[in-house]
């Protein structure tokens, strides 16, 4: 066995636990076990930690503490955020207008509304070649009386393109739900949303913690059965250690993001230009107006699963939007909506400690790996 590079390059699926979160999590496991709704000493300790976590998250995201809800996952935060806005718009219909490149959590929430008989066809709004939503079509959808809510992500989770959230929020009096899972912590939140969602394990917090934000004064109603907990917007026993560790990670990530983002942006630029030099390969997504840490590309005539497997064999862990790598056997709806090549697809996303040397090793092996897989056809 040769000395091979071990590079985990799938931060957009899940960032490794931030060191600041690890220490906090261990301490909070011992102090935050009790029911924060009880009145005894242990409960008061848990409640204090939970309130502290909420304050820290609010301060990091530049929102009010009473706008922050901890949920059991990012997906749950998306569902609650979007469906809660729909529920609270009684004078409109129950349709959602969403960009064609939203995360499947948004699409599934909209489908669920339909399956419950609460809405008929939703408005799926197209994107340009870079994956950016068409604001003219979105405005047309916003003017449809049956449309209750617009759903637009802050940034695309597969190709990194930033979306014009603030412009979209000014298209009419329709409230906007923003899925911010791909960017929360890494970039400041855009303005204009009524509800938003994030996911802690994507910024280096533990899994099992989502963030639901509901703007003060926004019309939002719990779309699911209520629970008798500290925060009536969510349900289930509070994950106090997880919330506190997520807050600690967020604080650390926000503090270091200027330096990390600048470094990531340059490393991704390096990968983009190296990949562009490989024949019959296309780099996807906006080259400048994008998440700093992520790039997606597709290689003609190459099987995506084989590409991921071969890179893994050489020590690089990457994701893919190709159909053969997906549980659904359907190609990525994001790439399809952009008209981008769906086979031979790879998404590389950097963690906070990805090194320049790892990136150089990746761009050194890529042309050879692609060549070898093409030889086999």
């Amino acid at each position: 066995m040769t000395d091979r590079p071990a590079a985990y390059l799938d931060a957009a699926s899940s960032e490794p636990l931030h060191p600041a979160a690890r220490d906090t999590l261990l301490a909070a496991l011992d102090q935050g076990y009790a029911d924060p709704r009880r009145l005894h000493r242990s409960a008061r300790s848990a409640r204090l930690l939970l309130d502290n976590a909420r304050e820290v998250v609010a301060s990091c995201l530049d929102v009010r503490a009473d706008e922050v809800t901890f949920t059991p996952s990012g997906t749950d935060a998306v569902h609650r955020g979007l469906l809660g806005l729909v529920r609270a718009q009684p004078r409109r219909g129950s349709r959602v207008a969403f960009s064609a490149v939203e995360h499947s959590a948004v699409l599934h929430a909209a489908q669920w509304l339909s399956s419950m008989g609460r809405a008929e066809d939703h408005e799926r709004v197209g994107v340009d070649r870079e994956g950016r939503v068409d604001l003219t079509d979105l405005a047309r959808a916003a003017a449809t009386p049956e449309v209750a809510v617009l759903a637009l992500q802050s940034a695309n989770h597969e190709v990194g393109t930033l979306q014009p959230v603030t412009e979209a929020s000014q298209l009419g009096d329709v409230p906007l739900f923003m899925d911010a899972c791909a960017s929360m912590g890494r970039l400041p939140l855009p303005e204009g949303w009524s509800a938003a969602a994030g996911s802690a394990h994507k910024w280096g917090g533990p899994a099992g913690v989502g963030i639901l934000l509901v703007r003060k004064g926004a019309r939002w109603g719990n779309p699911f059965p209520t629970d008798d907990r500290v925060d009536e917007r969510t349900s289930g026993f509070e994950n106090v250690p997880g919330a506190l560790a997520s807050a600690a990670a967020l604080q650390a990530v926000v503090a270091e993001r200027d330096e990390v983002n600048a470094r990531h942006f340059g490393l991704i630029e390096r990968i983009r230009s190296a990949v562009a030099a490989v024949p019959d390969t296309e780099v996807v997504g906006d080259p400048m107006d994008r998440l700093p840490h992520l790039v997606t590309f597709s290689c003609l005539y190459v099987n995506g699963e084989a590409l991921v497997t071969e890179l893994d064999r050489r020590g690089f862990g990457v994701a893919s939007g190709s159909a053969c790598t997906a549980s659904t056997l359907e190609p990525s709806h994001v790439l399809a909506a952009m008209g981008a090549l769906t086979h031979g697809n790879v998404r590389v996303s950097l963690t906070r400690d990805t090194t320049e040397s790892q990136v150089e090793q990746l761009v050194a092996v890529l042309p050879e790996v692609v060549d070898r897989l093409r030889e086999g056809i």
Partner: protein, 80 residues
């Protein structure tokens, strides 16, 4: 095939991505410049990937038809 310019039909039924596109690249040279190849494929990725191939390789994506058995056929005009 109803399109008048189709000179070659590639039967890619049952093939998964990227095989239909590989087949297209391999055999488009069999038709004259200006003529059309039909890629008959049931793999859902082919709908996006045949059009993307045309864009990347400078050929013209004409559109989609349906073969007699209901399988989609993607039409490509050879430009070079």
């Amino acid at each position: 095939m109803t399109h008048p310019d189709v000179d070659l039909e590639l039967d890619c039924r049952g093939q998964i991505c990227p095989q239909p596109v590989i087949e297209l690249a391999r055999r488009i040279g069999e038709v004259e410049v200006g003529r059309v190849v039909a890629v008959v494929a049931d793999d859902s990725a082919a709908r996006v990937d045949v059009a993307a191939w045309c864009r990347m390789r400078g050929q013209e994506y004409v559109g989609e038809q349906t073969a007699e058995d209901g399988t989609p056929a993607y039409l490509v005009r050879r430009l070079s």
